[in-house]
Amino acid sequence: MQVTIEHLTKRFGETIAVNDLSVTLGDGRLVALLGPSGCGKTTILNMLSGILPATEGRILFDGRDVTALPPEKRNVGLVFQNYALYPHMTALENICFPLEIKKMPKKQRLERAAQLAQLVRISELLYRKPSELSGGQQQRVAIARALAKEPQLLLLDEPLSNLDAKLRVEMREEILRIQRASKVTTVFVTHDQEEASSIADQVVLLKQGVLQQQDTARKLYDEPDNFFVADFLGAPPINKLCGTIEGGKFRFRDSGAAYGLPLRREVADGTAAVLAVRAESVVVPAAGQTLPCRVVERYTIGKDELSILDVEGQRMRGYISGDYPIQKGDALDISFRRKGVFLFDAETGERLS
């Protein structure tokens, strides 16, 4: 099912949690609502489920306006951060509960529950109470319960944040697998860019209730619309080198050294700008435009060496291949690749290159 959000706004008294959001969530996609805490992503989820009424705007499910419909009439499945399993019911009873409300005959209910249990791989745990299940298992039961009534839309609120690090990687792959198998349009909320990038088909990035960019994770990473997007995605965080625009070129703040990038438009001289460079975009040995730098520190991270470099008096991180031997204190020339290097207006965050 395709979800269309049109000019959606939510106000709580004076504060605006979601501001004029318009976005389309593709049919059968796994969509991530991504953003730092307080960006309004859970509010959007709650408006999608119908728990919260929208202040303005519309929500359309396959073109049908559901903005005024109460939760029970929207046919959505919802999984909470704390899973919200009914503690007095077994896993099986939890999964069957929505079906019981739908007055599905018992036999069918049990069949459906067995199918779902198989899908989320908890068949052998059906008779346990939530308190006897691990976090990951509770998560699976919660997803099965949400899928039980064959929702058109599955909503997951921070589905991985209550799990420990190792389980998190495993569960996110599970979510992807289950989503692919059930083919239900799925929206999950997360503040972890890695989580969003790794499994989502579509990432909707928000900041303080305002949409920043929405696209595939790759597109967001490679072609950020603004500084916030570039900065929010990627680990280690993108390098930020400060300076100004002079004569159509970026000039470093202290040294005045120039670095040229094709600009999208005319930019006035003296505009404060940020040269944002991904760590993996550092190239050694240098070719083309070169910049002299000094190695401040270096760490081994798996196959690569992550070095802290001093470039024109500013610090930045760069991956340097392990094949290229460098020492702390070495001076060397580097250059940047075209990909993963952006120029932003320092004040507005607008992308200039």
Partner: protein, 306 residues
């Protein structure tokens, strides 16, 4: 499109109407009972207390005034009731609290058979005042009662607890202390259990002796609970009534000497059918309880930061 929007708006207004009805529906049974049997009688009894020459069956009265209050406050039986109730509170509450404090302190320790002890101590709380009062009547019996027998073992003379007016109040007080203990112990025990064990460990590490710990750590930390317990017990003791029935065959003591405030209320209402007086004494009872409750709230607020 237009039609859809209209439908959506209609849905929304229907929704809010239903949302407003839900609380009313859920509260209706509760509020109905409350309005008829608490709120209305509360207001009505205050009104009745000011109605002069009020007739129960017709609801007629001559005028509004304070005649009932003057009559009640001039009635020796009521003054006697106030005095007896006051004495009862004055003896029973402190005595029960001190004994309960001591027992709760022991019960809070690491002891074996905790369950058994708790069962024994708390048992009287769940039993009918009428039934167990009857047992006390039997134990207070002049000729064959157990208490006089025990006294005789110590060479004391038999006391005519229930038929000599001089001993009626003491008998009531002994029974009162016994029956107040379970509830008081429970409250104080909960208070003891709320004290963080770290304080004790710290005090012991500082080399304080058990007696010192009790006086300097436990007692001050328990003070709010003790204060609260005292007030709650004072409120319940000032309503002393049901205990009189089994002990004195439904009379306020032998020779009508042991009126209490609530007994007076019962007597004026149900025996003499002087509703105005009964209402006035009920309002006076309420004022007493209200005053004690305000003290309780004050204590609770003052000690909240503990």
């Amino acid at each position: 499109m237009k039609r859809l929007e209209k439908a959506a708006r209609r849905d929304r207004s229907k929704l809010s109407a239903r949302a407003a009805l839900a609380p009313a529906a859920f509260l209706a049974p509760f509020m109905t009972g409350l309005a008829i049997f608490t709120l209305y009688p509360f207001v009505n009894v205050i009104l009745i207390s000011f109605k002069e020459k009020y007739k129960m069956l017709t609801g007629e009265f001559s005028a509004f005034g304070t005649e009932n209050y003057q009559a009640v406050l001039g009635d020796p039986n009521f003054l006697n009731g106030l005095r007896n109730t006051g004495l009862y509170v004055l003896f029973v509450v402190p005595a029960a609290t001190v004994i309960a404090l001591f027992l709760a302190y022991l019960l809070n320790k690491e002891i074996k058979l905790k369950g058994l002890f708790q069962t024994c101590y708390f048992l009287p709380m769940v039993t009918s005042v009428t039934a167990i009062g009857l047992v006390w009547k039997w134990m207070f019996n002049y000729d064959y009662g157990l208490i006089n027998y025990l006294l005789s073992l110590f060479g004391a003379d038999a006391v005519n607890w229930l038929n000599n007016p001089a001993y009626n109040l003491p008998a009531l007080i002994i029974y009162g202390i016994w029956s107040m203990l379970p509830f008081t112990i429970i409250l104080l025990l909960a208070g003891f259990q709320n004290i963080n064990a770290q304080y004790y460990t710290a005090a012991r590490a500082d080399g304080a002796k058990p007696g010192k710990i009790f006086l300097r750590i436990t007692l001050p930390l328990l003070a709010p609970t003790i204060g609260l317990t005292l007030i709650i017990n004072m409120i319940s003791a000032s309503k002393v009534f049901s205990e009189l029935f089994p002990l004195f065959n439904g009379q306020p003591g032998s020779a009508y000497s042991l009126y209490t405030v609530v007994y007076y209320l019962y007597d004026a209402f149900y025996v003499q059918w002087k509703l105005g007086r009964a209402a006035a004494s009920a309002v006076i009872l309420f004022v007493i309880v209200l005053a004690l409750t305000l003290v309780q709230l004050f204590i609770q607020r003052k000690w909240k930061n503990y």
